[in-house]
Structure formats: structure tokens, C-alpha cells
Amino acid sequence: MGKHEIRLRRQRMAARGSDRFRNYSAVMKQHGEGKRIKLITRIFTFLFLIIALIIVLIVVSRWEKKQTDPEQKSAQKENVQNAP
């Protein structure tokens, strides 16, 4: 047996009627909702990226500050020791 099932239909397709499912305004509505969700997702993604970038910048600047502080301290110490 295959992965499908063949059914024989005695009735013609057209006789079954598809008109009750024909609704373009519902399609438009769904399309509008989809568009809105897409826009909101884009805005949130953009905001998230900006926040992430700001956090990275803060972390990097703090790290740089920490790196420069010991150098300054050791330089000050040397100055004190070499003072006449």
C-alpha cells in the first residue's frame, strides 16, 4: 500500500460548490493582520538589536576603563618612587 489513498468520486466537482468558502474580504483581513504582526516583529527586533548594541558598548567601555586604571595606578606609583 502506498502513502496515499485514492478515492473515487461519483459526483462532479462543480456540483459540490465552493461559493460558501469564497470570501476575499477575509483574505484581505488575514493579510492585513499578518502585515501588522510582521511590522511589530520588525520593530521589536530592531529595538532588541539597538539595546544589545548599547549593552555591548557599555561592557566594552567598562572593560577598557578597567584595563587603563591599573596602568595609571602603576604609573602613579613609579612617579612617587622616582620623586626626589
Binding site: M1, H4, R7, L8, M13, M28, Q30, H31
Partner: protein, 186 residues
């Protein structure tokens, strides 16, 4: 489809990219065909209504990506509809259904004997149940939707020669297994 019709359709598509309301004309034009195509693969009116609606929503959502490749716009809709049906079966892990009109089977197979045998139809259906699914898909598009091989290849994402090979193999089997004269040879 004439070149003039294709040009008109392209104009509607371009308009629809800016104004989705314009897409309504194509919706009205192709709704029945897409509905019947999905119905043949589900045999369920309500489910077909949902999948058909989703097909047109997807088409509208992705209209900006649509490019004319020498096929009528309907080929693109058939492709989206096929993807929607496959997605449904993958999600529900069900057996794919092909609901075929008896009249179409009678049209496809011309009997060599005078009387039409009910048992013969049942045997043909049983035989079709044994064929690989992709072969049935090609047969469906070729004989029940009257698509040419180039369009079938586009809809099913296969090569044109692959579509032809599947069709001829299935028809050859029909001829030899049932000693039938298959109507279509083109």
C-alpha cells in the same frame, strides 16, 4: 492562455503589489480552480476552504517576491496550494488522499471492450493506490488539471523530463497491466 491575457494578468499583479484590493480580480478568477485542486487532495470541504484561503493569503503576502517566469500566474498559485496541502499532511501525519472523479477515470481510460466494467474501475483505483505518490501527483496535474509538463515541473519542483518520465511509466503500467487503451498519448 494568450500573450495578451498574460500581459493583462501581469498588469493586475503589478497593481496588486501596491494595492492588495486589486488582487481580488485574480482571486475571483482562480478561486474555483485552486479550490478543486485542493479538494482533490483532501476530499474535505471545510479543510479545503481553510487551505484555499491560506493559499491566497500566502500569495498576497509574497506577491512582492513573485517574478514572471513564462508560466501563467495560476502555476504559482498551484505551487503554493500544493505546499499548503503537503504542510497539512506533514503536520497531521495522515495519508494523502486523492479524490478522483469517476468521469475523469472513464475519460482517461478507453476500454477495448464495449461494456464498461465496474470491477475494472476498482482494479484501476487499486492499481493507482500502489503507485508512488509523486507519480499520482503528476498524473493528477496532467489529466485532471490539464497542465503541460513544463508547468507541472514548476509546480512540483522537478525537471520537465522527470515529470514526463513519471507520467509515461504510469501509463505504460496501465496499458500492460489492464490491457487497456489509454486515451492520452501526447
Amino acid at each position: 492562455m494568450t500573450e495578451d491575457e498574460i500581459r493583462k494578468e501581469q498588469a493586475i499583479i503589478e497593481r496588486s503589489k501596491k494595492d492588495p484590493q486589486a488582487f481580488g480580480e485574480l482571486y475571483e478568477k482562480y478561486f474555483d480552480r485552486i479550490f478543486n485542486y485542493i479538494l482533490r487532495q483532501t476530499d474535505n470541504d471545510e479543510l479545503t476552504g481553510d487551505l484555499c484561503s491560506q493559499t491566497f493569503v500566502n500569495a498576497l503576502n509574497n506577491l512582492g517576491k513573485y517574478e514572471f517566469r513564462g508560466f501563467p500566474f495560476s502555476a504559482w498559485l498551484y505551487k503554493i496550494a500544493g505546499n499548503e496541502v503537503n504542510k497539512h499532511y506533514r503536520k497531521n501525519k495522515g495519508k494523502k488522499i486523492f479524490s478522483i472523479e469517476e468521469l475523469k477515470v472513464r475519460e482517461l481510460v478507453e476500454q477495448t471492450t464495449d461494456t464498461w466494467d465496474e470491477e475494472l474501475i476498482n482494479r484501476v483505483i487499486r492499481y493507482m493506490n500502489e503507485l508512488p505518490t509523486d507519480m499520482i501527483q503528476v498524473l493528477e496535474l496532467r489529466f485532471f488539471e490539464d497542465k503541460d509538463f513544463k508547468e507541472i515541473a514548476f509546480i512540483l519542483d522537478m525537471t520537465e523530463s522527470g515529470a514526463k518520465m513519471r507520467t509515461y511509466r504510469a501509463l505504460d503500467k496501465l496499458r500492460t497491466n489492464f490491457n487497456l487503451k489509454v486515451k492520452y498519448d501526447g
